[in-house]
Symmetry: D2
Subunit: 366 residues, 4 copies
């Protein structure tokens, strides 16, 4: 029997505010049994000591266990992305899969996969890249997407190195990619993004080596979005694309921003989704744009369109925070609000200084 | 003999980098004798302990004294605005007045005025408001603008309270508007903005009292931009508008953003300046847009278009910093670069959560 | 049958790390049924958007419910204090009450009280002060302390104003003490501290008015420690003192620092507890000093012993963060480690710029 | 004719406040012609975008040129150290050399040296180490110190890498030690500190290689203090020690703190200088302690005396800022005020997590 995807974008008053999700369940709009994953934008700093991700994960886990058997609750992919700088609104995006009467497809399809735990010595190296590529392939199968060209967004939550994990690996005579736990977040995102690119046929595995991970800025996926978190050892992968086996009003498309102000590809993608706009989407069009998922980062050369930016020299505010605030403004000016999922740290996720943007829209007036 | 305004937007590699100004003078593009004022976006935090403003002021003063007699150097209005969050590019905007062969006007007109020193007990109160209103009137006369409707931007640099100034006033048996030096920055900006509004006929002085200053969010000027600084006791005022007595290719217009993502009024102003655009200005149009001057602030109710923002609850990053980064992104998405002058703290400068935007364009291809 | 107090100081690897408490329970060193309260130093910013307090509170609540009936778990006073600046070590301090064979007292006595919910319009005003004073009296009775002079530390967790609470009060035609939610934390701590002082006979209620709360720096308690939190409507009060009805090896004393470097009163208190020291406690003495609880704040005049400090002018780092880091260093130099409970925001808690310090020591070698 | 050193510790109201120095000169207490160097603690973040160092350097340069020929003014070593966290007081320490009637020595001796510019490719590598070692030897000769054992403090101001400097070196086919400009500050301090250790005979040059610089935490100098700055290409070196050829009441000694709370070696050094103390120096003793110069850093293992610190995991506040605030508290508790020169970033400057402390005292009551 065919599937249909439902997307619920629900505002959060804090990292532990799951009341909106309870309400959606109570009102019958959301069936907990169908929840594939939950993406959260939480209001921490998005860096190492951001505890809003763990707090939200704990709060969502308690919520899910109230409605689901523990195993089913634990199978839900929880991807928390910290940092709501500028006017970005903290919120949850819930991906639900229900059965559809008939496949009116192609329509939005959602799939997921979990990988085994990754030994610390493999973080940021080719074995992680291969593990993610394999996991993405399973997620495509789970989504019923046969053609990688139909994939528009792949969210990967990946592990990072911690002092105990480094010690454990070294105790077995292994070396790690970096002794710096903050850097390991970037390397893990980098290897995961390359893994996505390989799985989607964007990147040639043969051309890559350990040394390319995190350094080859010219090699990137236009559909990967990766976040590292301390709370898992393996990977959680959510694939979003279009499939003829799915039904319902939702569709997804994506754009690749070449730099932090490159809105034209996003406008073009909106037009492809039936939301053409000069300037800013109007209120009705905004209603039909269900979710926006994007990555942001400062350009490595410290310049944007030839002018200097100060993000990389700022020792008070992390560059990822500046980039999220700015790119949120760029996209909010086009879309008309700031309840957007914009995540920082875009190694191999779009070109240097730019990033992928996925757009999910309803083809009917809501 | 008629005047012509020249605007020089020059990138700065740091608060003390005046090399680009020296080059413009050496190349004969800029005549130091004609400099009316210099606006600077400097890369500090834009708050109390932002020393980049003072460093830039000292560096610009040394530069001017190399080219001008001390009195002439000191007469130049130096308005330093701290905070280049997001991708905002640190830069100088130099306002120069030269003689024109003939007035082809109406064209961009620039005028300035200085006020006497303001006693500390008057900061943030009606006497400051009246002093600024009177100064703005003199600046209009200096600019040769007869009709307040032709004014598009008034920049006021105003004083603030410090512990010694408070003590001095109290020693004379006077009270001050607030004992909080940071708050005094806001009250001084507020009184100055209301003074601009009164001078431009936007606001009725009779309807105001001391208690309205900083509190009556419904009373605002659509053309005022005010920054408080520790380095002066009086006010420095620069008026920008259109005058038939001026010549040259430059023109100015302005828009008022109703909230932080309200780009449509800015698009309309660009169109009035001969720069109509769907989406983003192209490279040629960008060349013709010489300068963008805007104010930004978080909305007081903590919401933007119905969604929560976290700017006001963030104890790590000041809300003014979030607002500058975000609004810079909003405008940069429309304009195509981020070398923009966006200043925080917009009390009575545009509606709550929004702000004025001035646009200076060349009517000829540069 | 007489009581005995046991204090467990347990390191935390994060706001959700309760593993050390589980271990103490599993090993039989700690009986969950005897837990009166838990103080936590958590590693957030200690300001408005510090979610480590809520995360720790949720984690401790889950832990307690695993070992206790829900009502008993909810009765435990959880006082989370954010901010471990400098080298301060995140940790839990668990106050346990067990039955003793015989009262060898006077010995450390622990008592607690909860108050009813406080209407928002009473926060920071005399009704809150009276409610806290009454609650402290009940906590003294609970501790079996007859004489207020035997009290050495009173920890109060108090509510704060939020936008919805302000709206609710105004909806009933009431006014609130401040519209600024951050300020309401300070006013709630201030009213609570004065309430403690009144209950302990340090402060004369008759001499106080609403306007004195938060302003009369000359009126203070030398034994109050107050923290405001968003997670409660009423107050949780823990009293620590000496009582002849209690037994066991533990004793408590306190000192009042007159400014942020005033260590001599602390050295004197250590000597009274049998820990005389020139310089720094040695390893053996450190073992016997079970817990240190202190308050810190920047002096309002911006000076320490005649020299300027920059805590109050820093717009990047909150002054409370500077004060905790510095005072932690001052006390750690004397004591020899930094696993200390130092809390910021000391309105009426010790003199301006100083604060109370409570010391709990074992009279036997551990 | 013999020399005498005079040390002037002068409070600063801001990075540009040289008024206290002008007063000392006007009052005849300070002869500008004798100024060897000026150390400044300025109130920026002490990291990459700390412009208070440059602002102070510009302001001091203008002050010196008012009193000295340009060459003499430029010869003064200006060592600005950013970061006055906690209660640290911004101030200047001026090292003056005057002629003495007779050498009553041994007494405090001061010497300085400048090195040639260092090619960017040598920063953080052995050639820098050798250049600094050679410069320190010249500074010892300048100070009239024959025996390296009589040296108690060597301050080195060293260059760092910037994007243009890296490009210039790479343009010549050279490689640089790191592409990360912030990291280059640490490597330059590290190579400089090792150079000091070699010059003082504490470290064996033969045992070192490029790879040891910044990594061999077991190799350190107990008397080196290094700060990197963008404003120079070579090195400025100031040596402080005792020499029989100098006269006057001043003496210097030093201690090495083994960790961030290790005050006993400092107490011992105070005693050697005639300032024995239990607890805290009294007001009279404080008068006689003219200057305290120390380095601070977080321990690399994230622990202090077995307890966790969070300095290295904090993405909001740089670890150097935490360390300065905390160690300032530790030393201020012993000394009784916080107008201390405590500098962060102590690579090879004392053991991991600890650092050198130099103490300058007057042997007569001032």
């Amino acid at each position: 029997m065919p599937y249909q995807a439902r997307i619920h974008r629900i505002s959060a008053a804090g990292p532990d505010d799951v009341s909106g999700i309870h309400e959606a369940i109570a009102a019958g709009r959301l069936d907990p049994a169908g929840i594939v994953g939950i993406f959260g934008k939480t209001e921490g700093n998005g860096c190492v000591n951001d505890f809003t991700r763990g707090y939200a994960t704990q709060s969502l886990g308690l919520m899910l266990r109230r409605h689901l058997p523990e195993a089913a609750a634990d199978a839900v992919c929880l991807v928390m992305s910290g940092g709501t700088e500028g006017a970005m609104a903290p919120h949850w995006t819930i991906f639900e899969r229900i059965e559809a009467e008939n496949a009116t497809g192609p329509a939005l399809a959602v799939g997921r996969a979990h990988t085994a735990g990754l030994p610390p010595e493999h973080i940021g190296r080719l074995p992680q890249l291969r593990m993610v590529a394999e996991g993405v392939a399973r997620a495509l199968a789970d989504a019923g997407i046969d053609n990688a060209a139909d994939v528009h967004f792949v969210q990967v939550k990946c592990p990072l190195l911690t002092a105990p994990r480094i010690a454990e690996a070294q105790g077995r005579g292994q070396t790690v990619a970096t002794p710096d736990t903050l850097k390991s977040m970037g390397l893990s995102r980098a290897a995961s993004a390359l893994g996505v690119g390989v799985a989607l046929g964007e990147i040639d595995l043969e051309a890559l080596s350990d040394s390319a991970i995190g350094t080859r800025r010219d090699v990137w996926s236009g559909r990967a979005s990766c976040s590292a978190g301390i709370e898992l050892r393996g990977h959680e992968i959510v694939v979003l694309g279009m499939s003829p086996r799915w039904g319902g009003p939702l569709a997804i498309d994506h754009a690749v921003m070449r730099d932090a102000v490159d809105i034209e590809p996003v406008r073009a993608a909106l037009a492809r989704l039936g939301l053409p706009t000069m300037g800013q989407l109007d209120a009705g069009e905004r209603e039909r744009l269900i979710a926006v998922l994007a990555k942001a980062e400062p350009s490595a050369d410290g310049r944007l369109r030839g002018f200097r930016h100060t993000m990389l020299d700022d020792s008070d505010i992390a560059s990822t925070r500046h980039a999220r605030a700015f790119v949120c403004g760029v996209l909010a000016g086009l879309i008309g609000h700031a309840e957007l999922y914009i995540s920082g740290g875009a190694e191999h996720q779009g070109p240097d200084g730019g990033g992928p943007v996925a757009l999910i829209a309803s083809r009917m007036v809501v």
